[in-house]
Amino acid sequence: MTPLLKVENVSKFYGNRIGCEGVDFDLYPGEVMGIVGESGSGKSTLLNCLAGHLTPDTGEVRFEMRDGMMRDTVSMSEPERRMLSRTDWAFVHQHARDGLRMNVSAGGNVGERLMAVGARHYGDIREEAVDWLGRVEISESRVDDRPSQFSGGMQQRLQIARNLVTGPRLVFMDEPTGGLDVSVQARLLDLLRGLVRKMGLSAIIVTHDLAVVRLLADRLMVMKDGQVVETGLTDQVLDDPQHAYTQLLVSSVLQV
């Protein structure tokens, strides 16, 4: 099996400050990787470098294109990269309003990516949108409502539907359950797990919530001050952390 994503020596600096530095890893098809660390650890910077929202100062982010060729997404042209982000990638923002068009109906939000890649049949687009709303447990009767009329959990599920409708192969998630009630979180996590398995998605999830990565991620990357301090199988890193910082992180979690 060949990796879907090969990340080599990715660094991003903000002036003299380090955003993230020298990050390397391979992500294989179907793998879900969690990136944990406290605020300012560089995990979001890294995610944005990988997803093409930021240009890294060093390194390569090589992605396996549909023709099987590995292409560096950092040096490819912007139109190509933007095309990838509409077809092969998905990005789930922490705040649904960053990832949704709040003045466009739920159906229009889900349909946008389809129309962006050339769908021109209203009936088909709508059918697909309704199907996806169903998959994220939003009733068909809400298809013409705007996201501003939705609860936080529903907005987040709508954002996921909007992202997954074009069948991406790699999903970037930035604190997907942040700011949601725990009961809503559980439902969302269950949904994400199901979708990841059914669609064979690869995903990179940035979060500071260790319970979220335990449930969703196969493997874990722990970051501190822009550096990767530990990587490994998720349960191994959480149950037998090797690095001082990871031990501190794990032991700081409140037990319920």
Binding site: Y28, E31, A186, R187, L189, D190, R193, R197, L215, D218, R219, G232, L233, T234, D235, Q236, D239, D240, Q242, H243, A244, Q247, L248, S251
Partner: protein
């Protein structure tokens, strides 16, 4: 099936002055197909630690643990995950599941993960839940709200759903009544009969006598604290 050579384990407590605690040294263990080996030793001797290392949950400091040709000590996360999916089952003492998921799906999940179709997986799950006397009205509920004994049985059903070639059992009969204990022991015997290599911790001596072929006292691999200091 399972081959352990010169295995060692230390815990380094960075946040407690960097204390290094050696917990295992030079552990050796070979388990053949169809064989069940019991780990014995006093509490704290390292039985659970060894089980967790075999499962890849704890990181070994040295040595090798080869399960079905994969060295767990050196394998990539995805190789370990594939091993856990296809080859190596683990029945722990605690059930850890996503909230909200119905019991029958919790049990069927390992089968779905290896590509068994949903109907067959559910049928097998129902069969196991029935054998373990989980009332049918509970199958559609999440096990998170069940009693400890019920959760334990759901956990066992899940662990035995897929016919793993190798299994780790951590106190599988603890806190079970006679009927359910009998069911679990026959599940273990059936697994052995189909050729599964099993490593287990059994405080229940009668159970150990019945299903285990050998015993290994892990205390012999515990480094003396004097030597470690």
């Amino acid at each position: 099936m399972i081959e352990i050579r010169d295995l060692s384990k230390t815990f380094t407590l960075h946040n407690q002055g960097g204390v290094v605690i050696p917990v295992m040294q030079g552990a050796e263990l070979t388990v053949a197909k169809g064989e069940c080996v019991a780990l014995t030793g006093a509490s704290g001797a390292g039985k659970s630690t060894l089980m967790r290392m075999i499962y890849g949950n704890y990181l070994a400091a040295g040595g090798s643990i080869v399960v079905n040709g994969v060295d767990v000590v050196r394998a990539e996360p995805r190789e370990i995950l594939a091993l856990r999916r296809e080859v190596l089952g683990y029945v722990s003492q605690f059930l850890r599941v996503v909230p909200r998921v119905p019991t029958v799906d919790v049990v069927a999940e390992p089968l779905l993960a290896v590509g068994v179709d949903a109907r067959a997986a559910r049928a097998r799950a129902c069969d196991l839940l029935a054998r373990l006397n989980i009332p049918e009205r509970l199958w559609s509920l999440s096990p998170t709200s069940f009693s400890g004994g019920e959760q334990q049985r759901v956990n066992i059903a899940r662990g035995f759903a897929h016919c793993y070639p190798a299994m780790l059992l951590d106190e599988p009969t603890a806190s079970l009544d006679a009927t359910n204990r009998e069911t679990v022991l026959s599940l273990i015997e059936e697994a052995k009969a189909r050729g599964a290599a099993i490593v287990g911790i059994f405080h229940d001596e009668a159970a150990r006598e019945r299903v285990c072929d050998r015993e290994i006292d892990v205390a012999v691999y515990t480094p003396s604290m004097a030597g470690a200091a």
